[in-house]
């Protein structure tokens, strides 16, 4: 944990999917940096498989899925800011360690 973790707040995102607009291009699923979305098995009324939010996923509120979706079918709202928890820093640490190893 960073020493100033108590003073840091993070704002995670809540993904909202308008399933009936989706045309199943999968852009949001593939290009999400935190691997939040997956293709559902269900069909929408057009016959495409819209995305759904994985149960264990954590949307980092980067808004990329909202900008890449060609159909105005997905958008992200901000969750209440909350304190940084130890589970939030795991990934950052491992990435930093990887970088040191490469150097």
């Amino acid at each position: 944990m960073p020493l100033d973790a108590g003073r840091r707040e993070i704002v995670l995102g809540k993904v909202n999917i308008i399933s009936h607009r989706c045309k199943g291009c999968r852009y949001c699923i593939e290009f999400c940096p935190s691997n939040t979305l997956a293709e559902s098995e269900d069909f929408n009324e057009k016959g495409y498989h819209p995305p759904y939010v994985k149960s264990d996923a954590k949307c980092v509120n980067c808004n990329y899925c909202e900008t890449i979706c060609p159909e105005f079918a997905i958008f992200v709202t901000e969750l209440e800011p909350r304190n940084l928890l130890s589970e939030d820093v795991v990934k950052t640490q491992s990435r930093a360690r990887r970088r040191t190893r490469r150097e």
């Binding site: 291009c25 852009y27 900008t67 060609p70 105005f72």
Partner: protein
């Protein structure tokens, strides 16, 4: 039909779902779109929808006044973009978006005039308008969805179709040299030239904001996947694999001479801002030269 305007205010720091009920539809960006027009006609995976989203995001982030921003488009799949936006928009005849936009700008210089159209519309039938509007430095913004073919009419070859591309009119592969739009725009006199792919959504948005705010002829080329016509005939896979190839092949550069930024069927795509200069616009020059001269006191003739 009555066109409804919605004031574009800066989005609140944290958007909450309740606010959406007051807007146009389910999506926060719907307030920039004409009511009930979504779903649009574009195919699954078509990059035109991403370009439209980038434009709408630019309107939001750049705080464009919806009452002073007008969009003109020509004919083609991307030409439909004008019809989806809840602004004063005009869908012109094929190739004539630029002259229409020029007229709009000259008649009402306070407007932000944006042309959104396709490679076929702007560079084949409309090619002459492009070079002369750039030469005159008319103060308009041009956004071109370059999908390397004529999508709407079934995928014919056009002025940007790369060598060896298969299209309905080049079934054995295109044998004509294509235009490099970045180089063409620079050579014709554009003051701002940028190229991004549909994957570079944030850069695209920021380039659009910059272009609208910058006086003079600004050109933004967006490489967009057309999986239905160009992708399918050239075995480039679906939209997703075309987007992945943009991710793998895009090279961000500011140093490359526009001359060296040509795009092939496969291979690297140079993206970035290539030109950003200042030059007096058509109206500046006109006011300075023609009007001043007309108003200047006449020399008396010697008898």
């Amino acid at each position: 039909m009555k066109i409804r305007f919605i004031d574009a205010e800066a989005p609140p720091a944290s958007r909450i779902l309740e606010n959406l009920a007051a807007g146009h539809g389910d999506h926060p960006l719907d307030r920039y779109l004409k009511k009930g027009r979504i779903p649009h006609i574009w195919c699954s995976g078509c990059g035109n929808g991403i370009l439209l989203t980038a434009f709408v995001k630019a309107m939001e982030k750049g705080n464009f006044d919806t009452k002073k921003t007008v969009v003109v488009s020509g004919i083609g799949c991307i030409g439909r973009a004008a019809g989806y936006l809840d602004l004063d928009t005009y869908h012109t005849t094929h190739g004539r978006a630029i002259p229409f936009a020029t007229g709009l700008k000259l008649a009402n210089p306070k407007l932000n005039v944006v042309v959104i159209s396709g490679d076929g519309d702007l560079f084949a039938i409309g090619g002459n308008h492009f070079i002369h509007a750039a030469r005159r430095n008319v103060d308009i913004t041009l956004i071109c969805s370059n999908n390397f073919n004529y999508g709407m009419t079934g995928g014919q070859g056009g002025p940007t179709t790369p060598l060896e591309s298969k299209t309905t009119t080049t079934p054995y592969g295109c044998s004509e040299h294509p235009f490099n739009l970045v180089y063409l725009a620079k050579a014709s006199g554009a003051v701002y030239v940028a190229r991004w792919t549909a994957l570079h959504t944030h850069e695209l948005r920021d380039s659009i904001i910059h272009s609208v705010n910058k006086p003079g002829f600004c050109f933004v080329e967006a490489i967009t996947p057309c999986p239905t016509a160009h992708g399918r005939r050239n075995k480039l896979g679906d939209g997703l694999s075309m987007m992945k190839s943009y991710r793998d092949n895009s090279v961000l550069t500011t140093e490359l001479d526009p001359e060296d930024t040509a795009i092939g069927l496969k291979g690297k795509i140079a993206v970035g801002e290539f030109v950003n200069i200042d030059k007096p616009t058509f109206m500046d020059m006109y006011d300075e030269c023609a009007i001043c001269r007309a108003n200047a006191p006449k020399k008396s003739k010697k008898s």
